[in-house]
């Protein structure tokens, strides 16, 4: 492309003209269209509305039993693990991938932290660092297979899920490290379970970590070059590559970060259940995908807000606790969550039709 710089062909003047040349303006947009447009611009708005409505409805039905600081912070504590894992899952899904190995990475990292401390006598902070490194490395392996070997993420993580879980059981011999021993010898492992009061409500470090993590990621995804690259790669990797995004490096960073976050979830898991148990977290992959989907992140990649997956996880938590307090059979929770998943994807399709 040769640029004429002598000014005889004055392209800039056309670009700087104040009158508009061509613009899409939808004059037929009614109230519904406006709503559709707003939702398209803010994808996490739908789950937020559902969350607020759910809290209001359960609050009305159950009164102070549900609307208490105890119940409200309880929901946060119950969703902290799924919330943290969902943050990792969101990153992968934004790149049009999926990660079935998140739960396995989480459990294996927690087992490494526990066994390194108790089997080899390594100081707890070093063991925790080893666990975090292991999670990151498994993530890197996933990323390498997806990005360099060009295998589909579903297959890679399906395989990795089995490999990591089997390694977890072989290495740990399925032995649980009891809460009392951890408390006496390595309380650092339970750091995420540390409680503190804010205005009568009880928070744990794990809950705060989940909230801060998601806020930081939301900022990074929206306002940094890296974040925009993640969206671009998820939307169309070829177009992203042609416009100068290093697709391989972006994918590697996403998978490694996701592995690291899962390892942090493993640390948080020790804080939550007190002990190190190799059988925990078996459903974390499905639960995290559920949270992400209800949170309005598109499984086709490139669209959605990570805040949505936090709301998604909280919606599941609110429904679970609310329905249990109402005395409903636990099957109703699963039934309603199933409905929510389908409704969320249907809403997503409807919003996508907006011509913006």
């Amino acid at each position: 492309m040769s640029q004429t710089k002598d000014g005889t062909e004055n392209f800039e003047s056309a670009a700087n003209r104040s009158d508009s040349v061509a613009e899409f303006e939808d004059h037929r947009r009614g109230v519904l269209g406006q709503v559709q447009h707003t939702l398209h611009a803010n994808p996490s708005l739908v789950p937020l509305i559902v969350l607020i409505v759910a809290i209001a409805v359960f609050g009305l039905l159950l009164g102070s039993k549900f609307f208490s600081p105890f119940a409200m912070t309880l929901i946060l504590q119950q969703v902290q693990i799924v919330g943290i894992v969902a943050a990792a899952q969101s990153l992968i899904i934004l790149t049009a991938g999926i990660d079935l190995s998140v739960g396995a990475i989480m459990v294996f990292s927690s087992v490494i932290m526990g066994q390194f401390t108790f089997r080899y006598g390594i100081p707890a902070p070093v063991a925790v660092a080893c666990g975090l490194a292991a999670g990151t490395m498994i993530g890197a392996l996933n990323g390498w297979l997806v990005s360099r070997v060009k295998l589909p993420p579903f297959i890679v993580t399906l395989g990795m899920w089995q490999i990591v879980l089997a390694t977890n059981f072989l290495y740990s011999a399925n032995e649980t490290i009891r809460s009392q021993e951890i408390e006496a010898n390595a309380p650092f492992l339970q750091f995420f379970g540390t409680k503190f009061n804010i205005g009568g409500a009880v928070f744990t470090v794990g809950v705060i970590f989940m909230l801060v993590l998601i806020l930081v990621l939301a900022y990074a995804l929206r306002h940094t070059a890296w974040g925009r690259h993640v969206y671009a790669v998820g939307d169309d990797p070829e177009a992203a590559g042609l416009s100068g995004v290093n697709v391989h490096r972006t994918l590697m960073s996403v998978y490694m970060l996701s592995g690291l976050i899962c390892a942090f979830a493993g640390w948080a898991l020790i804080g939550r259940i007190g002990s190190v148990s190799p059988t925990s977290g078996q459903l974390a992959n499905i639960e995290s995908i559920t949270a992400v989907v209800i949170g309005g992140i598109s499984l086709f990649g490139g669209r959605g807000s990570i805040l949505g997956s936090l709301f998604g996880a909280l919606i599941v938590g609110v429904f679970t606790l609310g329905l249990r307090l109402l005395g409903a059979d636990a099957q109703w929770t699963f039934l309603l969550i199933g409905l929510l998943i389908i409704a969320a994807v249907a809403a997503d399709q409807w919003i996508r039709k907006v011509s913006a």
Partner: protein, 338 residues
């Protein structure tokens, strides 16, 4: 190939010539998973006994609890392998029956370990813990430990799964009967009307589920003071939930299993009492039964008055209660598994 055929031929010949020779007897152990310490211990017991008696043992396990297909494939492999008997802990107690029948038609002795098949007589014999009795013991103990306060106890029931597997129902109903609560239908939990029961919730038998279920019940009624748990990991999770609100010292937790970490938790006061079962014994008795079946064709007999062979259960606690027989944690640690 030819060598293999010859080898098979000579084995067949040897079997025909000396059917009672110990070296020819092979047996299969099929467990739900090979990750749960309960089954790990069971495998240890079976392996040790098989070595002692000169029996060749092959072990199979499902990938996860509920993995039915792998167990069926394992039974078929054992039939093809010419095994004399199968020790089985079934994941799906009714769907496995046709495969078990096929094995029995082929002359294999099938013994259900720990988990009875449905119907129970689909297997030649069942070597199991009396789970109802296991529940009853902790129920009686809890009532005895509370004394007069048992009349206005607030009980949280932490069960296994919503699908209500038999083991979970038996322990739950046994506990309630032992505690002195009228049962509804004894084949399911959750239909009792006694106001002392705050509620039932499910734990999947692990720490995570135990904590969540306990929290849910505490949200319903924070003054719960007796907690029944399906097993010790669930009990450990429930304890964490109670500790989080500072009530760990005024709630009585009871459980079933008798695994080593569980017994240690009884010793540390996390769990008040637990009913201990004996997986190692189930497996070694099972191997002996297969040996007998191969030797003279006799089948094991049931414990009088029960439709299975009871491998025993003992209450482990350091605070014995009058009228309920128990062993202390020192003895419990000696006998524990996992």
């Amino acid at each position: 190939m030819i060598r293999k055929l010859l080898a098979t031929g000579s084995v067949l010949a040897a079997m025909a010539a000396a059917p009672a020779a110990a070296a020819d007897i092979s047996a299969c152990l099929i467990t739900k998973t090979d990750t749960n310490p309960f089954f790990v211990k069971m495998k240890e017991g079976a392996t040790a006994k098989a070595e002692e008696l000169g029996i060749e043992l092959k072990s199979f396990a499902g990938k996860v609890d509920g993995d039915h297909e792998t167990q069926v494939a394992a039974i078929e492999t054992c039939i093809a392998d010419g095994a004399k008997g199968i020790l089985l802990t079934a994941s799906d107690t009714s769907s496995i029956v046709p495969a078990v029948e096929q094995a029995r038609e082929n002359g294999l002795l099938v013994i259900a370990l720990d988990t009875p098949l449905s119907p129970i007589d689909a297997a030649d014999a069942t070597f199991a813990t009396d789970n109802f009795l296991a529940g009853e013991l902790i129920g009686k103990w809890a009532a005895g430990a509370l004394g007069d306060k048992a009349a206005d106890a607030k009980i949280g029931m932490l069960d296994l799964a919503i699908s209500q597997p038999t083991v979970g129902v038996l322990r739950d109903q046994g506990f309630l009967q032992g505690f002195g609560i009228d049962l509804g239908d004894p084949n399911k939990w959750g239909d009792e009307t006694d106001s002392r029961i705050v509620g039932n919730d499910v734990t999947q038998g692990n720490e995570e589920g135990g904590r969540r279920a306990m929290e849910n019940l505490l949200a319903k009624d924070p003054m719960i003071n007796v907690v029944y748990t399906i097993n010790e990991p669930a009990a450990a999770g429930a304890y964490e939930a109670l500790k989080a609100i500072g009530r760990e010292n005024d709630v009585l937790i009871v459980s079933v299993d008798g695994g080593c970490p569980g017994v240690q938790n009884v010793k540390d006061g996390v769990i008040g009492a637990t009913s201990q079962q004996y997986p190692l014994l189930m497996a070694s008795l099972g191997i002996e039964a297969i040996k007998k079946w191969a030797d003279d064709g006799s089948k094991p007999e049931n414990t009088p008055g029960k439709d299975f062979f009871d491998t025993g259960v003992a209450l482990v606690t350091d605070q014995p209660v009058d009228g309920v027989e128990s062993i202390d944690t020192a003895k419990g640690t000696e006998l524990c598994w996992g």
